[in-house]
Symmetry: C2
Subunit: 159 residues, 2 copies
DNA sequence: ACTGGCTGGTTGCATAAGCAACTACTTCTA
DNA sequence: TAGAAGTAGTTGCTTATGCAACCAGCCAGT
């Protein structure tokens, strides 16, 4: 029943399982309550937190693919949660910002996010969580450093 | 340049970034060296570790979707890394086992896996790594427990 | 032994996500 | 200031991945 093999002790595997479970749980919550995907949620979180910005800024902030950002923005615009204003500085891009609807949703969304985070990691001390962050950060930087490329998006180095 | 927002402190987000980076790095390695995907690699790891078994056993051991297991097995069989023997106990299934080629590859693959794991997490003590495992395990069980379903495979509760 | 329900495996369909290519605009350089 | 080169955004294509549906073989209860 339980996988008692070498695989189950393999840390990258455990990391993948935990990430999938957590992401899946959160995705389900946002999808059921507000019909938002994770990319859409991330864009809303950043716009609500930092105010109007271009898609380029959003890709930097979220570390998502520019296509993912674009598609998320399109959906948010169609749902009238965000709107695009002309960018005076650069005619190629627009400034994205939350609408009143979007701001209202953002105000509901963030508390739930923090609540879920707290629930998922309850029972661990502040120090343990900081160590956890440090380990995650280190694993990520080691993985990226080993190849010099950004591996977070399915580009398996086979351009 | 750097994302200095609330999002970047959100633990599920950090977890996702780390997992993607690590998985991407490992996937690249296996793909470049042996042309194996992660599901294929996992199946080989389990078969090499625990010997012949059915696809059903493999889904239990790897915690992957049965379709993913099936497709991985099909590829391994076509590449003559694994073969299917009739299952005396149950006419619906077959027993999968590594071929000589498969065993030879397995013998190369596992050391590299452990080496990569060591590299990714070098600089942390044994205790820190055990705590890391515990945190990952806890996050996973909390996420699964919250919904009572298996969320690891993209089923976002919308059956 | 037969029938209904169950389970392992397989296939097809739908969706998500990434890359390449393209357009429109900007910026650099001569 | 004209042309070259670079960049933001967009669209289309390809691949990966999950679920639903299906088939074949197993196993109760009768």
């Amino acid at each position: 029943m339980q996988p008692a093999s070498l695989l189950s002790r393999f840390l990258p595997y455990q990391l993948s399982l935990a990430s999938n479970a957590v992401s899946g749980r959160i995705a389900m919550e946002y999808r059921q309550r507000w019909g938002l995907s994770i990319p859409e949620w991330r864009v809303m979180a950043v716009l609500g937190d930092a105010g109007a910005m271009t898609q380029r800024d959003l890709t930097k902030r979220t570390l998502m693919d520019k296509v993912a950002v674009n598609r998320a923005c399109k959906v948010l615009e169609e749902r009238e949660l965000a709107q695009r204003a002309p960018n005076e500085q650069d005619g190629r891009s627009h400034l994205l910002e939350l609408t009143e609807n979007g701001k209202a949703m953002h105000a509901e969304i963030m508390p739930l996010a923090l609540e879920m985070e707290a629930k998922l990691f309850e029972g661990f001390s502040h120090d343990e969580l900081e160590l956890f962050r440090a380990l995650l950060e280190r694993a990520r930087s080691m993985a990226e450093e080993m190849s010099g490329e950004d591996l977070s998006k399915g580009n398996y180095g086979l351009k």
